[in-house]
């Protein structure tokens, strides 16, 4: 069976099983839950458990990615917390003056353009991701009738990669513009954070572009449809997350300096 056909309703509705204990709606009827394990009417076994079935590997990989992104979110949360601490800290100098060395970094206007490019790339990525699961194409691909999936997905993946690279190039321009104004990484507390945030985010995007290239390669190299779907699906969620992170980080840099 192809691993990609839309699951039937009972399967999709994983928490509720259609069986004689319940109609698939609402709560379980108040039967004795402890009938003795394995015996008649033992509905212990109907409780949610590790799921099996189509898309099992996909949902596993996706879940793993979401936990990784939760961790990654904490990474940025930590850096943003440090941002606010540094912004609001000060000291009293030898002349008894109150000194706060935070000099807000004026963000280069090109960042607005970059942000737009990144949002656009998220759109192209989502088109690619959805195309990967188009049922008729999946069926054709699985039966070995041509390569409709590859044909449909490839341009969008390439577009995403190009837009991603464009974003990174735009960031490089922004760093260059700041350098011309003599705002360097070590210039002042605000610029520390400007560079730190944009650099770490750029590294994340580099990883994302690596994943995109892997997905592109897999479109041709991998014979398993499932592998291709997993790669593109997970890359897409990662890419969206980086877009979302960027919007928050950009808002922080643009409006909360």
């Amino acid at each position: 069976m192809p691993s990609t056909i839309t699951p039937i309703n009972t399967e999709r509705d994983k928490k509720r099983h259609l069986d004689d204990h319940e109609g698939g709606h609402g709560r379980r009827p108040p039967t004795d839950k402890r009938t003795g394990g394995g015996g008649d009417n033992d509905n212990w076994n109907d409780r949610p458990q590790g799921r099996r079935g189509p898309r099992e590997k996909l949902s596993r990989a996706r879940l793993g990615l979401f936990f990784a992104l939760a961790g990654d979110l904490m990474f940025f949360v930590a850096i943003v917390s440090a941002f606010f601490v540094a912004q609001n800290s000060s000291h009293i100098d030898v002349y008894n003056r109150y000194v706060n060395q935070w000099l807000p970094t004026a963000i280069p206007p090109i960042l607005w353009l970059n942000t737009a490019v990144l949002i656009l790339s998220s759109v192209t990525m989502e088109v690619a991701r959805r195309s990967m699961f188009r049922e008729t194409d999946v069926m054709d691909e699985w039966l070995g009738i041509g390569k409709p999936l590859t044909r449909r997905v490839l341009p969008w993946l390439v577009a995403t990669t190009a837009l991603g690279l464009l974003f990174l190039a735009g960031q490089a321009v922004a760093w260059h513009q700041l350098n011309i104004q003599h705002v360097f990484f070590s210039s002042n507390p605000s610029s520390h954070f400007f560079y730190l945030i944009t650099y770490t985010h750029a590294i994340h995007l580099f990883l994302g572009i690596g994943a995109l290239i892997a997905a592109l390669t897999a479109l041709y190299a991998s014979r398993l449809l499932e592998t291709r779907q997993i790669l593109i699906d997970c890359t897409a969620w990662y890419w969206h997350a980086m877009g979302l992170f960027w919007i928050f980080l950009f808002a922080l840099l643009a409006f909360f300096q």
């Binding site: 212990w44 596993r60 939760a70 540094a86 507390p189």
Partner: protein
């Protein structure tokens, strides 16, 4: 080679445990050097000479780092987690086998990088496992803050990534790969321990990674996240090239946001194991099973809300101190609930005192003795006096190091047939090992409460030749310190019994039937290879029957037809 880079979860589990064993031996030897130096400061280390203060501090740092990361995090969470967890939930493998192997080799790399740090110019890091700035943020601050510190940072960064990957694997395995019938409330408590610990790892280790990155920038990129303005070290102003109002306190917040959950990452799987082992050898169900699940989760949640109790003396808003003090005291509630459940489980049963059971009882005992000083230290005003003394060393060595290690020993004795494919550790040697270890543990770490109360400071290389009243106070602790050092040697020496037992039993250990302890959880399914057909869980774990005449039998999770109804075997 195929074996070395295996993706089989049992092999990877064994590899993690081997790494942890090497680490624990290294860490123990380092601690013996420290103890020796404390009581005989003039003793010269062969091939090295006298132990200078910076050498002593690097011993403290290496010992702490190795034990915390490569023993107490690696062995329970990654080692036994990989070895046992999939079988225990009826899965054939971990969710991402190749990623699993990758995270093991990253951990090994992190350990290698850490071990290389003493051999570089300027020597190993000396900032303790907490690496407090500003000293750690300034490479030129003195010996041990140069390249050794960078290697320390690199090692811990690699370890953070490895540990996060491993935890993601654990979480997905538990959520997605449970066998049929293995519902959330039938999961063995060990699995709940691993689950909560993995959640904590995913959330906490990335914060540590961010902190390490900021510290690295301070050291090499001219930033001042943690370096205060005008910072002077030995009369030299080091903050000159670093603009800004950096604050070492920021590091403390970020570090302890990771550092405290780390304590629970180390101990939660051990708590779960203790519940299961006590129930098994008492032939009783775990008392308040669902409450034990809830307390595990509650400890996890509270565990990330109380990092500030490490900062009472570092300078914290007094209101924040109160808040952290309260959250710390509140965690005593789920912890006490656990202790009550352990006691209630063995209460008036007829326990089988196997070595695994003894070590679990030892765990409970150490958890209580070590835990009792927790609420004392949780109060800012008491912590003010005790914080930088050996009282704290006593507290965390009893509850974390010793309780943690006891749960590891219990796990080893209990699961050894699964590690060695059907051989048991010698129970006779095990008993010697247990009693000597218990003696050594209490005599080494309990007296530290008293030297701490007498004012013995932590991290001091030398207690003698200090002038004035302080010197008098410390001189009074010397006899007790001698006792501590002697006990530490006894404690370390008794581990040789364990090593002998391990080595001998792998080859010549008593061959055992497939389920020697009459355990009820799925990893004991009666065959030492992976079961060929998918398993199914038919009931919660820890179901036992003891009739009035003293006959015992047990209902494993994998047996379908139980002639006895569970209702009739509820506690009489």
């Amino acid at each position: 080679m195929t074996h070395l880079f295996s993706t089989d979860h049992r092999t990877i589990g064994r590899q993690y445990l081997t790494l942890a064993l090497i680490a624990v031996i290294t860490g123990t030897l380092l601690s013996l050097l420290m103890r020796t130096h404390l009581v005989w400061p003039s003793w010269k280390l062969p091939l090295h000479g006298s132990i200078l203060p910076e050498d002593y501090l690097s011993l403290v740092t290496l010992h702490g780092t190795i034990m915390l990361f490569f023993v107490l995090t690696t062995a329970p969470q990654s080692g036994f987690g990989n070895l046992i967890l999939p079988s225990q939930i009826g899965a054939q493998h971990m969710a991402f086998p190749r990623l699993n192997a990758f995270s093991f080799w990253l951990t090994a790399l992190a350990f290698a990088v850490l071990l290389s740090s003493p051999f570089v110019y300027e020597g190993a890091a000396i900032s303790g496992w907490t690496a407090y700035p500003p000293l750690s943020a300034i490479p030129s601050a003195g010996p041990g803050q140069g390249l050794g510190m960078d290697l320390w940072l690199a090692s811990i960064a690699i370890f953070s990534i490895a540990s996060t990957i491993n935890s993601i694997n654990t979480l997905v395995t538990i959520i997605r790969l449970r066998c049929k019938g293995m519902t959330w409330d039938r999961l063995p408590l060990t699995v709940w321990g691993w689950f909560t610990a993995a959640l904590l790892s995913v959330l906490a280790f990335s914060v540590l990674l961010a902190a390490l990155l900021l510290l690295f920038c301070d050291r090499h990129a001219g930033t001042a996240f943690f370096i205060p303005p005008g910072d002077q070290v030995s009369g030299v102003i080091h903050a000159a090239g670093h603009p800004g109002n950096g604050s070492p306190l920021l590091w403390l917040h970020l570090f302890w946001f990771f550092g405290h959950p780390e304590v629970y990452i180390a101990i939660l799987p051990g708590m779960g194991l203790t519940s299961m082992v006590l129930a098994n050898f008492s032939r009783r169900p775990v008392v308040a099973y669902r409450l034990m699940i809830a307390t595990t989760l509650a400890i996890g949640v509270l565990g990330i809300l109380l990092w500030g109790h490490h900062m009472f003396v570092a300078g914290l808003n007094p209101f924040a101190s109160t808040a952290f003090s309260i959250t710390t005291l509140v965690i005593a509630l789920p912890a006490s609930a656990k202790v009550l459940s352990w006691i209630a489980t063995i209460w008036r049963s007829r326990p089988h005192y196997t070595t695994a059971m003894l070590f679990s009882l030892g765990f409970v005992s150490l958890f209580i003795t070590g835990g009792l000083s927790g609420p004392i230290l949780a109060q800012p005003i008491l912590d003010e006096y005790l914080h930088n003394t050996f009282f704290v060393v006593a507290h965390f060595h009893l509850i974390m190091a010793m309780a943690g290690v006891f749960s590891l020993f219990a796990a080893t004795y209990y699961w050894f047939p699964l590690i060695s494919r059907g051989r048991l550790l010698s129970e006779r040697l095990g008993r010697w090992h247990f009693w000597l270890t218990l003696y050594g543990a209490y005599n080494t770490f309990f007296p530290m409460h008293f030297t701490g109360l007498a004012g013995e400071p932590r991290h001091y290389a030398q207690l003698t030749q200090i002038p004035n009243a302080a010197g008098h106070l410390l001189a009074a602790t010397l006899p007790l310190n001698l006792h501590i050092t002697t006990s530490a040697f006894i404690l370390a020496a008794s581990q040789l019994i364990f090593l002998v037992n391990l080595v001998r039993s792998f080859r010549h250990g008593e061959a055992t039937p497939a389920n020697p302890w009459q355990a009820t959880t799925l990893e004991w399914y009666p065959c030492f290879n992976l079961p060929t057909e998918p398993l199914m869980a038919h009931r919660p774990p820890c179901q036992y029957i003891v009739t009035a005449s003293g006959d015992e039998s047990f209902l494993p999770q994998w047996i379908e037809d139980a002639s006895v109804d569970i209702k009739s075997i509820k506690r009489e």
